[in-house]
């Protein structure tokens, strides 16, 4: 399907809403607490067949909790759910599936080493344990063709792109005969093109009389694709109306409530420099292998100057992870060189790189950004604990003061500096990491998907900090799957495709169309 067709079908389906009398799914007065935290407070909403219903809200607004209740993962403390006017009990995901409610997870939950068909076979109750998986090949092909999904049953999942993995999840929902599909932030990792294609599929689904619940924190997305929008804030429904009754600014206000001042946009000022500053990070003809020994980074050369942000755009899985790990020192380099502020650090320990002023904001924050079992305060000083130590001892009072100061400065929500870091929310963990990494004597910052899954306010803070540290003279290499982010922040934009840099443009000459083509490997270099 080409771009034009995609656009056309989106416009054609801008529905005129004539409300049916009985909603397909009615949520009535649902409340849910976790300990002292109220996750959902008397939430009621109606979901109609033939509609895409956007569930809009910031991180922590209760969207995912609600989805988990609808999918039978959590039980509500009070309230009830009706399907076509009949009360139902959703004790387990199996119950939900039997009622035709299927959750499509934010990150596809699939076994990478197995084929599409093998993954799907596991969910099909009617398929006997000793029957051949080949029996469902026909079914998979049939559904794929119907929804214009280019998947073959014998494809190995690890070779699929993120959006293709998402299609596998969609296929699963369709094979399970879902009447209500709940999609949790499905577009986080998609390019514009892939996102449009997904929306076309969703349109097809509702045209068949299904209902789609789209969980998102992006206002523009809710306005682009949905028929009805329910806004959640701090666990409560603040508004639930057809899309046509909203405009962008109103939705932003509804989402943010009293925090509305936090969304004044970041001023992305791109400075003109007179004298060319020195390169702080130089990568020369770098080749890096992935976990199974195949070359994932191919002859990559690039340089980052002091006071410059270089953005690498690209669809996930095109070697970004391996490149980032090679720069930080978590992965060996096959050939090529990495030079940090004039010091060759190729295949040196990560410690050597930190010493030379490298800061790292990792993609997987829980795994590489913090030590979850240690306290927030301890996590603040992981990299410069020596500054807080005398001989063998760490001065905990000094650490606590430092931590408290940073917690206030970055508005990190935690009960105490002694709280285990892993219990913080994703946004707060990222603030912790950013404040630790950018506070040091930073010359080069490697930021990998720094705002992935963050709400507007946290993402804005991260962007601000990156711009601040750039203005202080650090060079930043920003690797991100969020093209908007790359375009907003970068002075120079590169595109990575199948391990190579296939496109390189300075910000004053950029063309978004060309970048997107390059990301999909469609640009003839």
């Amino acid at each position: 399907m080409n771009d034009v067709e995609v656009n056309k079908s989106l416009f054609l389906n801008a529905h005129n809403l004539s409300r049916p009398t009985i909603p397909l799914l009615r949520v009535k007065g649902i409340s849910k607490r976790f300990g002292n935290v109220i996750a959902l407070d008397d939430v009621s909403l109606d979901i109609y067949d033939g509609e895409i219903h956007a569930l809009l809200g910031e991180n922590g607004a209760g969207k995912t909790t609600l989805a988990n209740i609808l999918y039978g993962i959590y039980q509500p403390d009070s309230g009830y759910i009706e399907l076509s006017g009949r009360k139902i009990k959703l004790g387990t995901p199996q119950d939900a599936i039997s009622y035709g409610i299927v959750l499509v997870q934010q990150y596809p939950m699939l076994i990478d080493k197995m084929t599409v068909a093998e993954n799907l076979a596991l969910s099909i109750k009617d398929l006997g344990y000793l029957s051949s998986v080949r029996k469902i090949y026909g079914l998979i092909r049939e559904i794929s063709i119907k929804y214009d999904i280019s998947l073959e049953p014998e494809m190995i999942v690890s070779n699929l792109s993120f959006s293709e993995k998402q299609y596998v999840e969609l296929l699963r929902a369709l094979i399970l005969n879902a009447k209500i599909l709940i999609l949790d932030e499905p577009t986080t990792m998609l390019t514009t093109y892939e996102r449009r294609k997904l929306f076309v599929i969703l349109r097809k689904l509702i045209d068949e009389g299904r209902a789609v619940v789209l969980i998102t924190h992006k206002v523009s997305e809710a306005l682009e694709v949905s028929d009805r929008i329910t806004v959640l804030r701090r666990g409560a429904v603040v508004s639930s109306r057809p899309k046509s009754e909203y405009d962008y600014n109103e939705l932003v206000k509804l989402i943010m409530g009293s925090n509305v001042n936090d969304v004044t946009p970041v001023k992305y000022i791109h400075r003109q420099r007179s004298a060319p500053p020195e390169d702080v990070l130089v990568i020369k003809e770098l080749n890096v292998a992935n976990d199974i020994g195949l070359i994932a980074v191919r002859n990559v050369s690039l340089s980052v100057k002091a006071g410059e942000i270089v953005g690498i755009a690209g669809v996930s899985g095109n070697g970004q992870k391996e490149l980032a790990e090679a720069i930080v020192g978590l992965r060996r380099v096959r050939s090529g060189r990495i030079v940090l502020s004039g010091v060759d650090v190729t295949n040196k320990e990560p410690y050597e790189r930190i010493k030379n002023g490298l800061a790292y904001i990792p993609e997987d924050r829980l795994k590489y950004g913090i030590v979850g079992e240690m306290s927030v305060a301890e996590n603040f000083i992981l990299k410069n604990y020596k500054a807080f130590s005398k001989l063998l001892f760490i001065n905990m009072r000094k650490v606590m003061d430092f931590a408290s100061k940073n917690i206030d400065l970055y508005h990190i929500v935690t009960r105490s500096p002694l709280e285990r870091a892993k219990v913080l929310s994703g946004g707060n963990i990222q603030k912790l990491i950013v404040s630790r990494e950018l506070g040091l004597n930073t010359k080069v910052v490697l930021a990998h998907n720094p705002t992935l899954g963050l709400d507007i306010a946290s993402a804005k803070l991260v962007h601000n900090e990156l711009l601040n540290v750039r203005d202080r003279g650090a060079g930043i290499l920003l690797i991100s799957e969020d093209l908007d982010e790359v375009i907003k922040l970068s002075d120079r934009i590169l595109v990575m495709y199948r391990g190579s840099i296939v496109y390189d443009v300075s910000r004053d000459k950029l063309s978004i169309g060309d970048i997107e083509k390059a990301m999909l490997g469609l640009l003839n270099a």
Binding site: K32, R33, F34, G35, I73, Y74, Q75, D77, P93, Q94, Q105, M109, L110, I111, D112, K113, M114, E118, N119, A121, L122, S123, I124, K125, L127, G128, Y129, L130, S131, S132, V133, R134, R172, D291, I292, G293
Partner: protein
């Protein structure tokens, strides 16, 4: 030493026979490890299977019942491992070692009354009970194959069937999913606990069967610690076979050839027989060290969740 057709025939005969317990035990262990459960208790299951096989055959007078009982005994012991490591989420290594020791201990105790009891006339019969045809100088080689019992051939079919099961059926997908990522497997609708127990049980049954073949088919009687480390070698062969049951045929025949060679060389060359007996074990250690290197492991296709217990999480609230 002169190599003539008699020596060659003897070598083939010994190799085919010695490989049977290795094939059965290591293809069974491959299934268990594919489900994410490493079972170091193979040696124990083999010993229990060997002794149970002897006792059952002596009592019933039927060697096939002996094989069946041996397999079931191995299964029972493996399920103890499953109980500890799968159901209770215990450490697989500790539990497996314990199972291996229990197997050794029980069989030493119970087997005392059966040491040296002859199974004369109760051995599995050869598939070709007649005079072997053909020219004299080829007869030893032909009979090294034709005079084998049917278990030798069954042991070739079993890994092929298991490989089909593992890579073509839904059950196989479920087993591999449990070994790759049990959390995702569960979310896709697999009952991880049951599936892992089935895989461990199947592995135990085949180990027990392999043990029973060692006592009933190879040695022909019971002695304490009859397996003498066969179970450990079988565990070592699994990574070499890249966790693919059909490949355990290849690795097992190679190892059995090595074992037969070390038997046949004893007393014929000027090397201590103790050293010769060590060769298969040393080979296993060396090969295991090589395949344990992380980089190789990933490339060989080691199940990602191998050795990791799966505990169903109690949800918040």
């Amino acid at each position: 030493m002169d190599v003539d057709s008699f020596v060659i025939g003897n070598f083939i005969y010994l190799t085919l026979k010695n490989a049977v317990p290795l094939i059965l035990a290591s293809s069974g262990e491959a299934v268990s490890e594919r489900a994410g459960v490493i079972n170091l208790g193979v040696e124990g299951s083999m010993l229990v299977g060997a002794l149970t096989g002897v006792i059952t055959t002596l009592i019933t007078g039927n060697v096939w019942l002996g094989f069946l009982a041996g397999g079931l005994a191995g299964l029972a012991l493996a399920l103890l491992h499953g109980l500890i490591s799968v159901l209770f989420g215990g450490n697989q290594i500790v539990s497996g070692l314990a199972i291996a020791m229990i197997g050794g201990g029980i069989t030493a105790l119970v087997g005392r009354a059966y040491v040296g009891r002859s199974l004369f006339g109760l051995r599995p019969p050869p598939i070709y009970p007649y005079e072997v045809p053909g020219p004299d100088h080829l007869k030893p080689i032909l009979s090294s194959v034709l005079k084998q019992d049917i278990m030798v051939f069954i042991s070739i079919v079993i890994p092929l069937l298991i490989t089909y099961m593992l890579f073509r059926t839904k059950l196989g997908s479920a087993i591999r999913a449990c070994g790759e990522n049990p959390v995702i497997a569960e979310s896709l609708g697999v009952n991880v606990i049951t599936t892992r127990l089935v895989a461990v049980g199947l592995g135990g049954f085949l180990s027990g069967l392999g043990g029973a073949y060692l006592s009933l088919g190879v040695v022909g009687s019971w002695v304490e610690n009859l397996t003498a480390g066969m179970g450990w070698i079988a565990v070592g062969l699994v990574p070499l076979a890249m966790w693919i049951p059909s490949r355990t045929l290849l690795t097992s025949y190679l190892m059995a050839a090595l074992i037969s060679t070390s038997y046949m060389l004893q007393g014929r060359i000027g090397v201590s027989s103790y050293f010769l007996v060590m060769i298969p074990y040393i080979t296993t250690v060396v090969m295991l060290s090589i395949v344990s290197i992380e980089r190789f492991k990933v490339r060989l296709g080691a199940p990602s969740a191998l050795g990791k217990p799966y505990i169903r999480e109690e949800r918040l609230g």
